[in-house]
């Protein structure tokens, strides 16, 4: 009997306490919950955006410190190495075969050249250059159609640099920070009266 009595009493106390809790909760509406979390999160995102804008990019350097300046001083043109093929496609960066026309053996005194000959020319491995303007798989870009423009109107002006610029890779997307964005392509097309139809650039 005594046990039953105490259970009933406990139950009653519990219900009273529950009522108090509900009362407190009603009074305290808005001071807990998701709102402070959301405000804090947004503030942190904005602070990150303003204070550390480059945090999302990892910095990378080219495998070989290639000097465009040295090559230009030899009287070479951009097209001496970056050339079109006979079918109008663009060869882009030169491969070992092209570089070795001059650099099969060390010809200068720059340690970077010696490193190239040692690590790539002699081993036959292609240099894994980082491409600042690399585009996604679904983009078709024709260098031939844009031949009348100067290289540096889209590419970084590397012609007179002794050290290649730092390559910024977006940590999330994996793409280069320096690459051209779709809105830039579209704007130039619109300004020059060229079609902005999807298939003009996509494949």
């Amino acid at each position: 009997m005594k046990t039953q009595f105490s259970v009933a009493k406990f139950d009653q106390k519990l219900q009273e306490r529950w009522g108090e809790v509900m009362e407190e909760k009603k009074q305290c509406k808005g001071c807990g919950g998701a709102l402070p979390f959301v405000i804090g999160f947004v503030a942190a995102v904005i602070a990150g955006w303003v204070l550390f804008p480059d945090l999302i990019y990892s910095k990378k350097t080219q495998p070989i410190r290639f000097s465009h300046k040295v090559h230009q001083e030899q009287g070479m043109e951009c097209s001496s190495c970056h050339s079109f093929r006979d079918d109008g496609s663009y060869a882009g960066l030169p491969n070992n075969e092209k570089c070795m026309e001059c650099h099969a053996d060390v010809v200068g005194s720059d340690p970077a050249e010696a490193a190239y000959v040692e690590q790539y020319a002699k081993t036959g491995k292609e240099v894994p250059w980082l491409i600042y303007q690399s585009q996604p798989d679904n983009v078709y870009f024709s260098h031939k159609a844009h031949e009348s423009f100067e290289c540096k109107s889209c590419h970084l002006d590397v012609a007179s640099t002794d050290t290649p610029p730092v390559y910024y890779e977006n940590r999330l997307s994996g793409y280069s920070k320096q690459t051209m964005k779709m809105w830039q392509c579209e704007r130039c097309h619109a300004e020059n009266g060229v079609s902005n139809a999807c298939h003009v650039c996509h494949k």
Binding site: G88, S142, A197, C198
Partner: protein
């Protein structure tokens, strides 16, 4: 987006497929899959889930032995002048807005709602039910001409559009006019590979291209002409019964076409 009525372009890339020459060998389907990086399906027994931008159908005149005849009908995307798929797309992932009249499909933009598939009366559109899986070693043979499609997007034939871009580049390199390509300078993989030469391809509006005359022939017709979608793909046959099937005409009141491959 195209509203009502066909859009007109100065160039109209089109095909004339000679059904009397087609032997149904399926080389066009194979060439298409190689060119456009279509992965082999693990279980191809479910024909609702296979992918083929060009599909060969078998037609029969449904007659007994001495008079029995069959014909094969390859079906790419018709690149309709007035496409049914374009106005239904809620995100403008598909459009007919480029010179040449090829209906574009932008895979990263597609949300996979499949309205276009429901709208297309030619069943020319396919949905990626699974991510593409290429058997080991085959990834080395992938073509750079077409981007890979993930699970959840719709894809279709685009007349091997990158081949058009490359033909234009070649014309520029050789000092020609990229907007006036010579007959045969631009050829989709299926037309290129067809062993009997059943597929003729070119600019329907250019009198110097063979398709210009062929499409005007009395033996030429288009599929489901009565729907008014104005396809840029024409068929050619001297057989009356084949032409009638092309407009879904069935003398018996029963459907006449049966699937051959999938």
């Amino acid at each position: 987006m195209s509203g009502h009525g066909a859009k007109e372009f100065n160039i109209k890339w089109g095909m004339v497929i000679d059904l009397d020459k087609c032997t149904g060998c399926g080389a066009c389907m194979t060439a298409c899959q190689v060119e456009n990086n279509i992965a082999p399906v693990l279980d191809a027994s479910n024909k609702l889930r296979t992918l083929s931008w060009i599909l060969v159908y078998e037609l029969s005149n449904k007659k007994a032995a001495p008079d029995a005849e069959i014909a094969y009908l390859p079906r790419p995307c018709m690149q309709c002048g007035n496409p049914a798929c374009v106005p239904v797309c809620p995100v403008v992932a598909t459009d007919k807005n480029e010179e040449g009249g090829i209906v574009s499909q932008i895979y990263p933009r597609c949300i996979g709602c499949r309205y276009c598939m429901a709208a297309c009366p030619y069943h020319a559109r396919y949905f990626n039910w699974e991510d593409p899986v290429f058997p080991k070693g085959m990834e080395k043979a992938l073509s750079p001409n077409t981007s890979a499609r993930p699970r959840g997007v719709v894809e279709k034939c685009n007349f091997c559009h990158t081949r058009l871009m490359k033909a234009k580049d070649k014309a520029r390199q050789e000092g020609g006019n990229p907007e006036a390509l010579a007959d045969g300078a631009y050829m989709p993989a299926c037309a290129d590979v067809c062993p009997t030469g059943a597929i003729t391809f070119g600019d329907l509006k250019n009198p110097e291209h063979k398709v210009h005359e062929l499409a005007k022939s009395e033996h030429a017709f288009r599929l489901l002409e009565k729907l008014g979608l104005a396809p840029q793909v024409y068929y050619y046959t001297r057989r009356e019964w084949v032409r009638k099937l092309g407009d879904n005409y069935a003398a018996t009141g029963k459907a006449g076409a049966e699937k051959k491959h999938s």
